[in-house]
Structure formats: C-alpha cells, structure tokens
Subunit: 234 residues, 2 copies
C-alpha cells in the first residue's frame, strides 16, 4: 500500500479522519507508523495528499489530512476481457487498476467456463476490494469503471462497433502486425480467454472494426498478455 | 499446457516416448486425449513437433513423435531482478520464461527480506518446475538460464559494468525517459524490489552504465513492472 485510501464519509470538513479496523492495523503493523508520522492519503474519487497521525491507540487512528494533489492521469484506454478464472481475475483487477485504465468490461466467450460467472470474484464487493488494492498500489483515487456483459454478440455489435472515435484493437496471436507502442487517444483493446476466441467470435471482432494485433510469436497466458498489451499501448 | 515437454531420456531413438504419472493424467484428464489423438510435443533443449497417441491405459501412455520444428526465437534479453517474495517469484518465472528471455539473475538488495533466500521457491527443483510451466505455455523447449547472486555490489561492478556489448537499462519510477519499445540487440534490464532500490544501489547501477527508464508515473508492483518492461522491449 503506497497510499491510504479513505472513503469520503471518513473525512470531516476540517480534514480530520478517524479510522479503525483493518486500516488501523495496516498503518500500525505493516507501515510501522506512530503519532507524528506522515502518511500518503487520498479520498476515493477525489484529491490526494499527506496526513499526519494525531492520535493512535488500539481502537482508533486519528489523522489530520492536507489534500492538495490531483490523482494521477488515467489513460483513455478501455480493456475488454473475456472473463478469466477467478484467481486470475482478482490479480488482473489489481494490475490493470494500478496501470490506470479507464474502464474494464468483463465479457463472455465460448471458451469462458459458465461457472466463472457465479464466482464471488465477480461480485461487486470483491471486484471493488481488488480495484482498491490497485488504487492503493499506484497512489490513485479514481477507480476504473468495471462492467460485465454476459452476451458477447450484442455487446460487440451494438456497443463497440459504433465507437468510431476509438482505436479498436484485438490482441490475439493471429494478428498480422505487432501491438503498437505509446498510442494517442481513445483506445479499446480486447483480449480473449485462455485458448483464444473461437472463429465465430474472431469474425464478430473483425466486423466491428477491431484490428487484430499480436504480442509476439509466443502464446501467453491471459494475465501476461493483458499487462503486456497495456504496457505497450503506453 | 500448449506443448507436452519431454525429457531427452524419455524419447527412444525411433521417436517413441512412454509416459506415466502426472504427464499421463494431464494428457488424459485435462487435454482429453485418447488413442489416435495428436498432441504438440517438444524435447527439452531440442526440437518440437507433433505426437500421435499410440496406446493409453491407466499406467502408461505411448507416443509416436515427429520432431521437425526449431523452438521459438529467444530474444537476447537478460532480466536482473531483486529477489521477490516467493509466490511472486513462482509466477514471474512462468511469465518471463513464456515471454522468452534468455537469462534471469535473481539478486539481493537492501529491501529484499533475507528469509526469501531460504524459501523452497529458490531451490533448483522448484525454479525448474516453474520454468517448465512457462515453456509448456509458450511452446518452447529451451529454458532460460536462471542464476542467483547474493552479493549485489560485486555482481554489478565486476560482471555487469564490463558488459559494454549490451544496452543496460534500470526500470525505476525515478527514470527520466520512458522504457523504450522494440529494442534491437543484447539488452540487460534490472528491476528492483517492492519499495525500490536504496540510494546507494541506484548509484551502483548508474556507475555501471545503466540508464534509468520509467514505466509511467504510477508505482507498479514488481510482477506488473517485469511483464510491462519485457513487453515494451519487444
């Protein structure tokens, strides 16, 4: 945790925050902070800055916060991802939040096991917990929008195909050209499941104007491929 | 597993291989293969190709292999990595092997917990097991060289500083320029521990001719940063 993320209702009008529970334990045990220490803080959806520890006991932590810094820039990149298996989803939400994507859409695909959709990892509370870890890692305060689409075809045809404003990329080993580096402007990048999209789905993406790009000649795991694609897009 | 990796001693002179144990269970249960099925195979350190399942019972799997394809190209990239905590090390060995780096050197740093060095994850057998998973993922047969250096200073000063043949990069949030994309030729990239290198260590790297490059303004976890750096180097 590089930034202690506060919820707006944890902060008084005078910049004081009172914490208990897991946040208190983390500040004391992991960060080793004590009265007078300074901590990097941010308010969910708002500014970030520093806080001084005013008081500290087993039940309560009191902070005086000075919030004067905008959250870091978020790249206009949207990630469309065939729902990965739950442990990979948990880690990927942390990775991609830290990397600063603006929106993540988890979608279905023929090679996504249906049971993944009923995993607790897809429930709003657990998605939020992993997004939060990513924000705290990257000193960010603004969560990406995380959405789900259980039906791929209407999502691609009705929502993505009309997005003529955005560069639309499909990262897939079948791509003829390499995933570009340091792109400018709005970009949507779609990444398939382990085993790849089936031919019908590849046709959907092509018809929706998605350019198929590769990440090298090697077949990568979804977790590796997502980070690699976002790192190249810059 | 996208390729079944055989050890050289599992293969007869006539291209027949007999497997048992975990490999047999995997081919039957996970890949769902049966007599007459074709499987992608490779021989550790050698060629790859296809195998036909000749016979199959609970105790033995017999394959007829035709090996006629070179392993995929390995980029002349060497990764120097401050030893991460064991679960991250396990996953990273899989990621970086799949991505095709030629050599990985795990080194010490002031912010690496000494206890990590006595983890089973650093033992040769477990390193090899994770490298193997990376090879099977990327249909490769040639393992990267994985080495350890417990003393950072002589490693950087005596082994890396004289490597004038190689582009030498240190991926660190303090870098003034962005990590380059699609570099040509021999490249060494060094990535620090969670929390970063201490100032003395940053001085060592600079003195050894390492150019400090960043992966964007966000502080990434080591796992994210390693994949991101390798993906950009191309």
């Amino acid at each position: 945790m590089n930034l202690l993320l506060l919820e707006p209702d944890q902060l008084d009008a005078d910049g004081r925050a009172r914490l208990s529970g897991a946040a208190l334990v983390h500040v004391r045990e992991v960060l080793g902070k004590t009265v007078g220490s300074s901590i990097k803080v941010g308010v969910r959806g708002g500014l970030r800055g520093r806080a001084e520890v005013l008081a500290f006991d087993e039940h309560r932590l009191e902070l005086a916060c000075v919030l004067d810094e905008e959250p870091p820039y978020k790249r206009p990149i949207e990630l469309v991802l065939a729902l990965p298996r739950p442990p990979v989803l948990r880690r990927l939400l942390q990775h991609v939040t830290a990397m600063g994507v603006r929106r993540v859409v988890l979608c279905h695909s023929a090679r996504v096991e249906k049971s993944y959709w009923s995993s607790p990892a897809v429930a709003a509370a657990e998605i939020d917990a992993n997004v939060r870890l990513g924000l705290e890692q990257a000193c960010d305060t603004v969560a990406p929008l995380v959405e789900t689409r259980l039906r791929l075809r209407p999502f691609v045809e009705d929502e993505l195909a009309p997005r003529l404003d955005a560069r639309r990329l499909l990262a897939d080993p079948s791509g003829a050209s390499a995933c570009p580096c340091d792109v400018e402007g709005a970009t949507i990048v779609a990444i398939g499941p382990e085993g790849g999209w089936v031919p019908f789905e590849l046709g959907l993406w092509a018809d929706a104007g998605f350019l198929c790009v590769n990440l090298g000649p090697r077949i990568l795991r979804v977790e590796t491929a997502v980070i690699a694609a976002l790192a190249r897009l810059g």
